[in-house]
Symmetry: C2
Subunit: 119 residues, 2 copies
């Protein structure tokens, strides 16, 4: 078993993002099948349109963001649930004055971020 | 992709629990590998000591609870992260005046709750 306070888990800046920090709350070394991560994006920050090789199951904890998923653009806020299938292009932009924070679960499989041409 | 407001997702009373409601936010029909559920336990409610066949990755959203995991007893609150390996006995009791609410991710594998003798 593992017990941690999320606020005390070290974070890393996400290179492909802007003002975006990722914390691995439960990682591949802790659990066999999937990893629980928490992302925090400063207002105006986020991640450009990209794909991953793995699916995302997400739950918004606080703040507000514009999220694109495939051809859709939505505004999400605390308590919203988002599922992004593997390979579907998506992006995040934190809106408003407070950080946008969400949980994101992914399978313990090799992943790669591929940035997409914005044109 | 799926987008939902967690507060609008229907819940079911958990038979083995007391004052405990489960909402399936992302289920096996939505995603291939794991399911995202949200549990809400009324003050004084919870679940007795039991085992599951699958592991739990959890994140506390609000409230406070006494949780036993194996031989440990801990108090958890918003922002706490809990990992319960498959087969490890555990229980929950919501403390204080507000509901205890947490997310719980499990693999899409057959599960069974087995209640343990409290003696």
């Amino acid at each position: 078993m593992k017990l941690a306070r999320a606020d005390e888990v070290p974070g890393q800046e996400v290179e492909a993002g802007e003002g975006t920090v990722k914390q691995v709350l439960i990682g591949p070394g802790d659990a066999p099948n999937f990893a629980l991560r928490r992302f925090t994006m400063e207002p105006g920050g986020g991640m450009p349109r990209h794909t991953n090789r793995v699916e995302h199951e997400q739950y918004v904890l606080r703040g507000r963001a514009t999220v694109t998923i495939g051809d859709d653009e939505v505004t999400v806020e605390a308590g919203d649930v988002v599922y992004i299938p593997a390979g579907v292009p998506h992006s995040y932009r934190a809106e408003g004055d407070e950080p946008f924070q969400f949980l994101c679960t992914v399978p313990n499989e090799p992943d790669r971020i591929e940035l997409l041409d914005e044109d």
